[in-house]
């Protein structure tokens, strides 16, 4: 079956409704079903969908909609507004330490995009603030992870602190921070190895790095193609590390990116950046309303509102 965005779904559901002009209990039920399906197809987590639809229904059965002459239009607007509300109203900037260095730590599952995003952030800071960041290579597990970060550092002309793969990551971070202090780097970006949120030993390693480095920002890097498991992963990292923000990667693909809603709902932490490509300049700030449109397949949302 081809993917249908909410626009089309609601149009179908409301075809009969428009003729009748008055909303019945069962019309509302049909509309909610369409919303539920659209969100599930976008990979929003099942529990998150349930809760979200409940909120929308509560608002929809309020007099404002039922007495309206254009209930379809109203419901679409409610869904969109609620989505934007849940995902945060405005872009949230990076946390900054009152004294140098500001320490940023990248965490997440294997292959999510941590190392690449570390490079993108470094570039952004250099370009926008003429910052002098230092990146620390604390992934000693993945083959050539250090080479990867060193290469990125060379491409950007940003220094990378590394001690190869024979030292404990906590020790590497400690010495890296000492070097940053010596060189008066204003930002430190720590790249850590990918790990599963259920891997107790490696999660403990992150806790130890956090305790030592006292990061101002712990960014959970999540692949935007992630499915239902997004809530579990985000909760796992958040409970153990109290993350401060999220980066959603690979949004240059054709995924709906429902994971954004799931993660935001279960952690309450802001999505700060989105990755839009492999190149080091492909990092954007997060716009909740664009994300809402994308999740719902509603590039043409304004068209529907005008038509409804």
């Amino acid at each position: 079956m081809a993917f249908e965005g909410l626009t089309q779904r609601l149009q179908n559901a409301f075809n009969g409704l428009k003729r009748k002009g008055k909303v019945s209990e069962s019309d509302v039920r049909d509309a909610m079903r369409e919303i539920r399906l659209a969100l599930l197809e976008a990979d929003v987590n099942f529990d998150v969908v349930k809760e979200f639809v409940k909120t929308v229904r509560e608002r929809a059965v309020g007099t404002e909609v039922l007495n309206s002459l254009t209930p379809a239009q109203q419901i679409v607007k409610i869904v969109h507004d609620e989505l934007v509300k849940v995902m945060g109203d405005a872009a949230v900037p990076l946390n900054k330490s009152p004294h140098i260095p500001t320490v940023i730590m990248m965490v997440g599952l294997q292959g999510a995009g941590k190392t690449t995003t570390a490079g993108k952030l470094a570039k952004r800071l250099v370009d926008q603030e003429k910052a002098r960041p230092l990146m620390i290579a604390a992934d000693i597990y993945r083959p050539a992870a250090v080479d990867q970060l060193v290469t990125i550092g060379q491409q950007l002309d940003v220094p990378v602190f590394e001690m190869g793969t024979d030292h404990d990551p906590v020790e590497i971070v400690k010495q890296g921070l000492a070097q940053a202090a010596e060189n008066k780097n204003d930002y430190v970006i720590i790249d850590t190895a990918g790990r599963l949120e259920i891997d107790e030993q490696l999660m403990q390693e992150l806790s130890n790095i956090k305790a030592l480095a006292q990061p101002n920002e712990i960014l959970l890097v999540v692949d935007s193609m992630t499915g239902q498991v997004a809530t579990q992963v985000a909760e796992g990292f958040n409970q153990q590390l109290d993350i401060t923000g999220v980066v959603l990667t690979k949004l240059d693909g054709d995924t709906r990116g429902g994971a954004a809603l799931s993660i935001r709902t279960v952690t309450g932490k802001p999505i700060k950046f989105v990755g839009q490509g492999e190149k080091l300049d492909a990092l954007d700030v997060f716009y909740p309303d664009r994300m809402a449109d994308r999740i719902l397949g509603m590039g043409d949302m304004m068209t529907l509102i005008e038509k409804a």
């Binding site: 294997q110 050539a144 990867q148 290469t151 692949d223 193609m225 498991v229 709906r256 994971a259």
Partner: protein, 302 residues
Amino acid sequence: AKSRTGFTARLNKFLANFRSVDEDFFEDLEEMLIEADVGFDTAMTISNQLREEVKLKNAKTKKQVGQVIVEKMVDIYGEAGEQEDNTLHFAEAGEPTVYLFVGVNGAGKTTTIGKLAAKYHDEGKSVLLAAGDTFRAGAIEQLAEWARRTKTDIVTSKAGADPASVIFEAAKKAHAENYDILLVDTAGRLQNNVNLMNELAKIKRVIVRELPNAPQEVLLVLDASTGQNALNQAKQFSKTTDVTGLILTKLDGSSKGGIVIAIRNELHLPVKLVGLGEKTADLQLFDPAKYVYGLFKDLIED
């Protein structure tokens, strides 16, 4: 928060409270399937089939229902896979066997090549790796490290070189020096990136030009934690390179990888291998019965 075994644990809970096969039960079943990422349509289809079957078999007790569900699930999986072949294919004697690895960024292509290289090397075969990802920082070094660890040979180029030409060199070398196996790594690419998909088609043509019967397998590597987008991945990569099988990685994580059921139903692409970790030993042949059994494990062991 749900535990890792949430799916089966919760299925057990329903069955513990189970009195008659009522609608609530099947709604919960649908929910569990959706949470395994099989997708909404597939979840509905499966649960409808199970509903029929439970009625048909007149299952009344918890245990009976459990049995029926598992049997039917294995059936459904088996039916969809009737014309499928989930074995890995090899070239005729005297020719190298070539496997081309494709997939989106970070799925686990390079790591899986490392694991397979170890396996074939241990079986006494001569293995050559082709470092066809010349784009991503550190990609060549990553594969080179796997070659070192697995004591296999590798063909590399400078970073930024044309991937098709490295792969051509590797195919030529595999042919001339009688390697048993050539494993070809490619850069990760998103399926909607037309230029990069064209590059992949070209890579395949280059292999065929040197070795007309190759590649024996085009393996699409899928991250088990991927949601519905994996279906698009399977469609687009198949269109470009005639994928012959799937490799489902990171099944050691919290995700059930249910998306392969949807892919199977729609595209009839068999899963050939599964990845269960980052070490060489963490690679297994895919066993459909075992996979379904895994979804419902607690139920039948009870």
